[in-house]
Subunit: 204 residues, 3 copies
Amino acid sequence: MTLLVLLDYAAVLVFALTGALVASRAQLDIVGFAFLACLTGMGGGTLRDLLLDRTVFWIADPNYLAVASGAAAVVFFTAHLLESRYRAILWLDAAALGVAVAAGSGIALSLGHSAAITLVMGIATGCFGGLMRDVVANEVPLVLKQGELYVTCAFAGSLATVLVAPLGAVPAALACAAVTIALRAGSMAFGWRLPVYRARPPKS
Amino acid sequence: MTLLVLLDYAAVLVFALTGALVASRAQLDIVGFAFLACLTGMGGGTLRDLLLDRTVFWIADPNYLAVASGAAAVVFFTAHLLESRYRAILWLDAAALGVAVAAGSGIALSLGHSAAITLVMGIATGCFGGLMRDVVANEVPLVLKQGELYVTCAFAGSLATVLVAPLGAVPAALACAAVTIALRAGSMAFGWRLPVYRARPPKS
Amino acid sequence: MTLLVLLDYAAVLVFALTGALVASRAQLDIVGFAFLACLTGMGGGTLRDLLLDRTVFWIADPNYLAVASGAAAVVFFTAHLLESRYRAILWLDAAALGVAVAAGSGIALSLGHSAAITLVMGIATGCFGGLMRDVVANEVPLVLKQGELYVTCAFAGSLATVLVAPLGAVPAALACAAVTIALRAGSMAFGWRLPVYRARPPKS
């Protein structure tokens, strides 16, 4: 269980950094930074816990709020040191996605859910926080950006959790994070992608 | 109860088709199709189950996930055969709305809720999946499109459930779906509508 | 407990008025008014109750639905008398924010939650309904509007609840609403604000 708690902390921290960086692009004040950091950092896990009918993780342990708010404060005072905040958001988001998918699928597995539910919980935990961040801040959701893998990475990572699970929870979490992040990084750096739908006649 | 399960399956299937068609307009890959199909197909019922504090229906029975993903795959490979995907979305959405409203209001009734809660659950189940689809995909939400009945159809259908309920669950579900779909179709085909608010002075 | 119920009623009523006014700007019909009024009026409290694993307040007592729908009807027939609907939305929203933050933080306190959770529940209850209203109606979310205090007011109000709580629930609720509304009004009328993040190099 300790591993899953660590993964939740790491996912909250890194997603909160991306939320605060989006807040910096929107030129919000420090409370706005903390708001977007908490929404992004804890949105995915909150959805997972509501769906699985568990106590919401940050209500059970409010330290998560301190982590997300601290990340917001750090970004507020240091973001100007970054050369490109947009690139920082993309790469941190990739790392956070990997960790959050591992946390979500790991918790579903540890509760004894089936492979199908484990897959969905990994995807929901990984994608929902960033989706909320982008919808609220009126940016194009990374989840749906054309020509890049995103949900696919979360899906592959969740699948890795399910496949590696017989070897133990730690290898499963490592495999999940590694697969998710590698695929996402490959997609951003080398343009890896799946074939997209293209209508033969013009868009109707 | 079997009837309500059937209605849930039908609503998931048809809403998933609309989600996948929206994915085709956004030129996503097949995982993006499945993501939008699941979100649209299961969003309304998920909200209903969270509000009513039931086990979320697709966690209790993961076959719903297979239905929505299968619908996404079918659309991915056949959507180019459609003459107008936008018209297909509109008409499938109308059918899905009718079935989902019947599922939502029927379940609320079967749990012994009051007429007011039944009305709201019908509307929430019917409208939320499509709303999520449109917000995430950045389309104008059908729910709020001017000069067309949408929420009104869901409201009238839920009302039909309440009024016909004394005759049994099957007639109530049939009446609900028929009223919802007929009103929505009439609104699209013949321009049926309620008077809208129009300010006398220009928009302020 | 009666005080908290009263606050919930007041928050639902005033937020519903803002939802209906947004519906009037979008030129919806009367069912659209009721839909946006219910979403805005009950969204924040619904999120709070889901997070705290309580029975959703308007399912326990459907009279809230009547209040929100009644507010929608009143606005539908009288909004044209307003000189500026946008200003009315802003000021009603400020009042609703104050009352809803008091309701949210007061309920969290009365359930024995920690100061951190109380702060978050005040902010979530206050901000979520308006956020849903603006996202669904495609307006720029007030929550994130630059150069104005919004989340900060909710934060300060929640803090007032926590600090004044030892004196009793009534003074705490009054202090919370007063602080929230005063800060928000000062921000709108006199331009009070916190320093915002500004990158030294141009936006990257």
